[in-house]
């Protein structure tokens, strides 16, 4: 699938992805979540190193949904702390593309970094 140049350009605007956004998109790539569930997932996955405090969490949700990376979804409760939050989000196709593009960018970086390190060790 080759994205049209228009879409390509839009995706390019988001790269490199802000670290918070990457973490949040990653959480949403696992399925429909509400804000608090995103926080829990990120905290768990990073072993507590990344904590999303409420303003950043919801501020970023608002900004990402304005940017068209995520959209509201019908409730599909995950069961945990549902009383806090009743608005669920999922990735939009654009969001998925951006996440994929960012992953590719990071892969490229990792490859480059590996080869340099290997060269230096030789």
């Amino acid at each position: 699938m080759t994205p049209s140049s228009d879409l390509e350009q839009r995706v390019g605007e988001f790269l490199p992805l802000k670290p918070v956004w990457l973490q949040m998109l990653l959480a949403l790539a696992g399925g429909v979540r509400h804000g608090y569930a995103i926080r829990l997932e990120v905290e768990e996955r990073t072993g507590g190193a990344v904590r999303l405090w409420p303003t950043t969490l919801y501020g970023s949700l608002a900004k990402m949904s304005d940017a068209g990376l995520i959209e509201e979804a019908d409730a599909e409760p995950v069961g945990e702390r549902d009383e806090i939050d009743r608005v669920f989000y999922r990735l939009t196709p654009l969001g998925r593309t951006v996440l994929a593009a960012e992953t590719e960018r990071l892969e490229e970086l990792v490859r480059l970094s590996r080869s340099r390190i290997a060269a230096a060790e030789r």
Partner: protein
């Protein structure tokens, strides 16, 4: 569900306060969820780690919000201890080693201070509330000043927008007159420093289907281009085709909402004004900031005749400088052109040139006195609160003396000890800041609800990033100042004596610092209260002052005249004459007249009036056109002579136009007296004085009246683009009489021409805003003075209570030895009053010196007003007596046996 602990609830409340700093859209969308999540986080933190956990979570949550605001993109706040690193044992507070040693110490001290302050809730409460008052009030005032005055206009490169106005050599700096169309066009065409310029003026209309009079902006079609914005809907006026856009209108955002319900189908619809339809072609963006609130904009294109007119000054003008052009460069550019014009038309340009000033100043006014006053008042209040809290902490330092001495003996340096005091003030400061934010929010709402009417941009006032940053700065600086006082007043080297002397260490030094603080507080409060006193005196005097006319019982009625039937002066004159004759026979009407404007309006002046036979001429003469009956209806009394008869436009006025002048003009042109019958010349026109009336104070009783000349309408045409206003006086000075008079007018209109539409305004309403600056200043000072007085009293109470507690043992012993109870009370009272009187004397001295800065706001009161000072002094003495009496009585009830048992 169990109620969460107070620390959780307080943290949630604090976070909720900070949420108000966020953009409204985000708040509306997610505010509730953010709050619920913060609450859950705090509850979890409390369960896991207790109070320190809540504090840590609270700091992280609020810090995150501030970071989000500052960076705009959010932040990954990583946990200070990644889980892979083992955490230290509970309670040892390990800190990252890369932080500065001082910060590390301070953080450690903060934890200790928090624990010890928890045991002194009263100190915590009083200290943080007092600071909250100072910080909150200052933040609120700053928000007001920022929103109403300092904030830049919402136009791109707004600093390049400048006002263009004529200035006379005798104008005070900052005063600008309107410009003539001919001069303007010459400057526009000749200037090389402007990107664009726009000519405009204001008028009013009563559109069909609306129950209010709207403000119309007649503007050169390029208005939006000069401002640098686009209409939010539709298009701007065409600027290239001189015949385009006839009878089209661009609505303000507000009028679009009011009259058309904010629908997007408004384009192409019609607004009926002056009995003719005007097609809506656009809607101006919300928050179009202009020197007056604009409801609708219609295009103004000058005729050839107007283009060549260099005499009358009737239009406003502003322009956008080219990038990089300084105000001075543009001024000399325009002045060179103006000098050429003045050479060609010397008679209308004697002493005149052109001036430039910032357009923002034109929009928001130049009210520097009120601005300065507010700043001073808030600053003084902040100082008082600082002095207050500093003396609280000083007392606290006294009780920590032994602990500090031990620490010093164990090798703690001065810095270390000062930091430990700073830690306490930091906690008070942060708490005070959070509470202060609440005070500021409440204060802003209060200030806007009180002063909204007299402020130019009430909608712009509120907490935002700028004002929030100022509040944060205030917290930091007050914390620092307040915390340094006790720390620095300690003499570390002599602390050893404390340990040697036991509890009876030397106390004199410290308590004298505290006395100085109290005297300072009282003195500062006296300054504020006496300022408020002078302003109160002024508002009383202004309210009773004679303006030269009687606003009560009079009402101004504006008629919309259909252009086709009443286009010319003779028809208009006939209509008004019929109306007035019919009205005079009605019992509800005591007097009726018409004129171009109603008092106290002082706009539109002309120059060059002289008494015939004299070369001395008078400038800035207010020129009015009125009918017989106008003076009686306005309540302006005749001093000599009488009014002129009705003059038809066809009446031959070749000899001299009969006019009425005010006392001010009569005194200036005919200083020998007896103005009636004398001749006045202006250019080649001649006027004959038929009567002299008292002078109407056009700008309030505190500003001298301008000379005025009233000529007869309809014989003399009205000033630029206005219709005569009917002025009705009811049978008495009540609002009922005013409405009865209006009802009578409606009845008469029904008979004479039912198509005529009517708008009205009571004359008292036209006075609103006349004393705006004084009322504003007074109300504000009253609020601050009240707070200052309260804080001063609290300060006196605190110091006296402390002294009493300190001397309890001595007093007890003396009473055991037979000292009478009364003597103990008097002694304590005397001590309190001595401090107060010292403060009053200092404060009144300072007030007398500072009074001059109030001068421009005062009326009928000298800047050093002894009666006011006497009242202020007695208020403070009385308040101090009450504040002292409570601890004094407590002292007298000391139980001698307990006193002996004290350490």
């Amino acid at each position: 569900m169990r109620e969460p602990p107070i620390s959780v609830r307080a943290s949630v409340a604090a976070y909720a306060l900070f949420l108000r700093l966020l953009p409204r859209r985000l708040r509306e969308r997610h505010g509730a969820a953010m709050r619920r999540m913060a609450r859950t986080l705090f509850i979890d933190a409390h369960r896991e780690r207790g109070l320190p956990g809540v504090v840590r979570a609270g700091v992280a949550t609020i810090g995150d919000l501030v970071l989000f605001l500052v960076t705009g993109t959010g932040s990954v706040l990583t946990s200070p201890r990644p889980s892979s690193v083992p955490s230290g044992p509970e309670g040892t507070h390990p800190l990252p080693t890369h932080r500065g040693a001082l910060v590390q110490t301070l953080l450690h001290d903060v934890v200790i201070a928090a624990r010890s302050l928890r045991k002194r809730p009263l100190l915590l409460l009083v200290g943080s509330f007092t600071l909250a008052l100072g910080i909150g009030a200052t933040t609120a005032v700053f928000s007001l000043v920022w929103g109403a005055w300092l904030k830049p206009l919402p136009y791109p490169d707004a600093d390049r927008l400048v006002r263009i106005g004529d200035v006379h050599e005798r104008f005070e700096p900052g005063l600008y007159s309107t410009v003539s169309i001919g001069n303007y066009v010459d400057m526009k065409e000749g200037s090389r420093t402007f990107e664009a310029t726009t000519l405009f003026t204001w008028s009013g209309a009563e559109p069909e289907g609306m129950d209010r009079r709207i403000t119309l902006l007649y503007s050169e079609p390029n208005l939006f281009e000069t401002l640098g914005v686009d209409p939010s809907l539709g298009r701007a006026f065409a600027t290239d085709d001189p015949d385009a856009d006839e009878r089209t209108v661009i609505l303000s955002h507000g009028l679009w909402q009011d009259a058309f319900g904010g629908g997007t189908d408004v384009l192409g619809r019609e607004l009926v004004m002056f009995e003719r339809p005007w097609t809506v072609i656009g809607v101006a963006p919300d928050g179009l900031e202009f020197p007056r609130e604009v409801d609708a904009i219609i295009p103004f294109r000058w005729s050839q005749e107007q283009r060549n007119a260099h005499g009358g000054r009737s239009m406003y003008a502003f322009g956008r400088l080219q990038p990089g052009v300084s105000l001075d460069a543009a001024r000399s550019d325009l002045r060179a052109i103006y000098a050429g014009i003045a050479e060609r038309y010397p008679e209308s340009h004697e002493g005149w040139t052109v001036g430039l000033s910032s357009f923002r100043e034109f929009v928001v006014g130049r009210d520097h006195t009120a601005l300065r006053l507010m700043g001073w008042a808030a600053g003084i209040l902040l100082l008082i609160t600082c002095a207050n809290v500093a003396s609280l902490l000083l007392a606290r330092a006294e009780s920590r003396k032994r602990e500090v001495a031990v620490r010093a003996a164990l090798g703690a340096g001065r810095t270390r000890i000062v930091t430990s005091f700073l830690a306490e003030s930091l906690i008070l400061g942060v708490l005070g800041g959070v509470l202060g934010l609440a005070v500021a929010l409440g204060g802003i709402d209060l200030l806007v609800s009180i002063f909204g009417g007299s402020l130019r941009r009430p909608s712009e006032i509120g907490l935002n990033v700028t004002t929030g940053a100022v509040a944060l700065g205030l917290v930091a600086s007050t914390t620092f100042v307040v915390g340094l006082v006790p720390g620095l007043s300690l003499n570390v080297r002599r602390l050893g004596e404390v340990l040697r002397d036991g509890s009876r260490g030397r106390r004199r030094g410290r308590s004298s610092v505290r006395k100085v603080l109290v005297v300072t507080q009282v003195a500062l409060a006296v300054i504020l209260v006496s300022g408020a006193g002078l302003l109160l005196n002024t508002t009383w005097r202004l309210a009773g002052a004679d303006l030269g006319f009687e606003p009560e019982g009079a009402v101004a009625a504006y008629l919309e005249l259909p252009g086709d039937r009443y286009a010319e002066r003779p028809e208009q004159g006939r209509l008004y004459r019929r109306l007035m004759e019919a009205l005079r026979s009605r019992p509800e009407i005591a007097a009726v007249g018409a004129g171009d404007r109603v008092p106290p309006d002082g706009n539109i002046t002309n120059n060059g009036y002289r008494s015939v036979g004299s070369a001395e001429s008078l400038d800035f003469v207010v020129t009015r056109q009125v009918t017989p009956g106008y003076f009686a209806a306005a309540g302006v009394d005749f001093v000599a002579g009488s009014e002129f008869e009705w003059q038809e436009p066809s009446d031959s006025l070749t000899t001299a136009i009969p006019v009425v002048v005010n006392e001010r003009l009569a005194a200036a042109l005919f200083p020998e007296g007896d103005a009636v019958g004398r001749l006045i010349a202006n250019g080649d026109r001649r006027f004959q004085v038929t009567g002299v009336v008292e002078s109407v104070h056009q700008r309030g009783a505190d500003v001298p009246a301008q000379p005025a000349l009233y000529s007869p309408w309809p014989a003399v045409p009205l000033s630029f683009q206005s219709r005569p206003v009917l002025l009705l006086r009811g049978t008495d000075a009540t609002a009922e009489a005013e409405s009865a008079a209006l009802a009578a007018l409606r009845g008469v209109l029904e008979d004479i021409d039912p198509d005529l539409r009517l708008g009205s305004r009571s004359l008292e309403e036209s006075l609103a805003g006349l004393y705006g600056p004084q009322e504003f200043a007074f109300s504000l000072m009253a609020v601050f003075a009240g707070l200052a007085l309260a804080l001063g009293v609290v300060g006196i109470y605190g110091v006296i209570s402390y002294t009493v507690a300190e001397r309890a043992r001595e007093v007890g012993i003396r009473m055991a030895l037979g000292a009478p109870r009364r003597r103990v009370v008097t002694e304590v009272l005397r001590q309190g009053l001595a401090l107060t009187v010292a403060g009053i004397v200092l404060g009144l001295g300072a007030a007398a010196l500072l009074g001059r800065s109030l001068e421009s706001l005062l009326f009928g009161v000298s800047t050093v007003d002894l009666p006011t000072y006497a009242v202020v002094g007695s208020i403070f003495v009385a308040a101090a007596a009450v504040a002292t009496l409570v601890p004094a009585r407590r002292a007298s009830r000391v139980n001698p046996t307990e006193a002996f048992r004290m350490e």
